[in-house]
Symmetry: C2
Subunit: 323 residues, 2 copies
């Protein structure tokens, strides 16, 4: 009936319905639209039995604690993942991994229970245990962030080295010389990359790197608030490079705690996937990337890998844009 309505062959429709790479996006959309008009629902249970696949993609995420604001970028990434899957057979399962190495246990459960076709995860480390495990288990996965593993795996990443370099350079251009870095824990790949970018910007401008101005912390607003206040009280810090929106919120508050009358003298830079800066009294320097685009690409790469593409070609790094 669908083939007849569209004036195409049954094979063409079958290909579109089964998500064949030979089908154009337009044809898939046409077929889906007509299928829906006709009240046609695909028997996914049959497809699952036939293919041995679950058509479930798992996003392994780390959520904030109860009252703390939480990084709004995460929500956008999740939205992007959903947008990619909206007109596909895949559904998204999100799993919260509590802190402290629990990720690997969640992954073991998924693998043993054959509960998913693939995994999206962030917060990579250079020798990521989870990535090693999934490589060994041959379960497709894509990381938001890079590793230093010899084996190829799919990833999407922001150019973190560039973003931190960009923010630091801008602060120097505004006349700052005592620039603090508030970043995540140093075990994560993105943090190591950011620290390299920060150091490079300082070196290029003839400023010396001072370890006393760097804080590797749990990137939450309350932690950043304390760290910033302490930096302002005990050092000559005059500006801050912040790893994300909530660290920025905390740092601003910390400066106000320590030196309310001098808050106007400070500048902040931030890597962000939102326009939070628009709503603050003084606009921070923003290294922007699209969190929707990040999520969309993570899901797209995972699906392409599940459907046969090699991980080595599913790797993308985007540059942040100065706002």
């Amino acid at each position: 009936m669908i083939a007849e309505r569209l004036g195409v062959s049954v094979t063409t429709v079958a290909r579109a319905v089964n998500g064949s790479p030979k089908t154009s996006v337009e044809m898939t959309e046409k077929v889906n639209r007509v299928a829906e008009e006709l009240g046609y629902v695909r028997n996914m249970e049959g497809v699952k039995l036939r293919t041995g696949r679950t058509f479930v993609l798992t996003a392994l995420l780390n959520f904030p604690t109860d009252t703390e604001i939480g990084d709004p970028t995460l929500l956008g990434i999740l939205q992007g993942i959903h947008q990619r899957c909206a007109n596909s057979d895949y559904s998204i399962q999100t799993i919260i991994a509590p802190d402290g190495g629990e990720d690997i246990r969640e992954l073991e459960k998924l693998v043993r229970g054959r509960a998913t076709d693939g995994v999206i995860m962030d917060h990579t480390t250079p020798q990521d245990t989870r990535a090693k495990y999934l490589l060994e288990m041959e379960l497709p996965f894509v990381t938001f962030g890079r590793t230093e593993l010899f084996s190829q795996h799919a990833y999407f990443d922001v150019d973190n080295e560039f973003a931190a370099w960009q923010g630091t350079k801008e602060l120097i251009r505004l006349g700052h010389k005592n620039i603090a870095l508030l970043d995540g824990p140093a075990e994560f790949t993105y943090v190591l990359q950011r620290m390299a970018g920060y150091k490079r910007a300082l070196a290029e401008e003839g400023l010396s790197y001072r370890e006393t101005l760097v804080r590797n912390l749990d990137p939450q607003a309350n932690v950043a608030r304390e760290a910033a206040a302490e930096l302002v009280r005990t050092t000559d810090t005059d500006s801050f490079v912040c790893v994300n929106d909530i660290v920025l919120m905390g740092a601003r508050r910390g400066v106000r705690d320590a030196a309310a009358n001098r808050i106007e003298e400070f500048n902040f830079s931030v890597r962000s996937g939102t326009n939070l800066g628009d709503y603050l009294a003084k606009r921070p320097i923003t290294s922007y990337f699209s969190r929707l685009d990040a999520g969309w690409n993570l899901a797209d790469m995972l699906i392409r890998q599940i459907e046969g593409e090699a991980p080595a070609v599913l790797q993308q790094i985007v540059k942040t844009e100065l706002l």
Copy 2:
């Protein structure tokens, strides 16, 4: 093997594994722990075939647009839902419903595809079409927000009337007399309840209700920013009751746009599930509720309904706490 290890009967273990209400939380935890030590994975496919259930819970959510910050409360609710399901057989599927009545089509897909055991949804209206549809289809659901439907259904809600009343009263106590209300679109139940609370507080204090100080808007930061600026420019507004964190951010910015030199004179109240107020120069009056608790209860009520409890007993309203 599990029964032997724990020194209990096989029936006790079977009950725990199958999530029988006769099992204590402690026993369930013990059994799960031993099962995991033994590398035991439940064959969920068998359970699904036997019970005709999917063990999938669907959260139908509305996400923000690309760059706008987005309400951080949503992320916390999602986290609470996950926490409830973390040690259960249920997995969470999140579905993004684009604006504009697309929710019902998403629900039709779920029902026709037998893709879920139950649905969690927010943004209820008094005569909620989606709730009517799910009642007719006999698919369990729980709403974050109430309806005025005659049929009983499960819901969890914040006492919205009380929250808006509480915020308005506090602004009056601080000496404000020209209090604007920045709220969501008037078709939603929570907005109608909030408007009632705002009016009641004004009436109790002998202040007249002025329609010109009320804005029903898409509760996003950029929209609130424009509305607040316009109110400050064209009326005698001296304070704001804000429906959520991002409307608060937008309103503050809008006041600064319109009257930067008088920003200190204004006060704001907000209904919030975060401690965002801690990070702002001037702390807003915060009517706080736990977004984790909200999410946990939504999932709990849905699971209890799926497992046989009557919707009429699965209804809970929590009061906000003044921070």
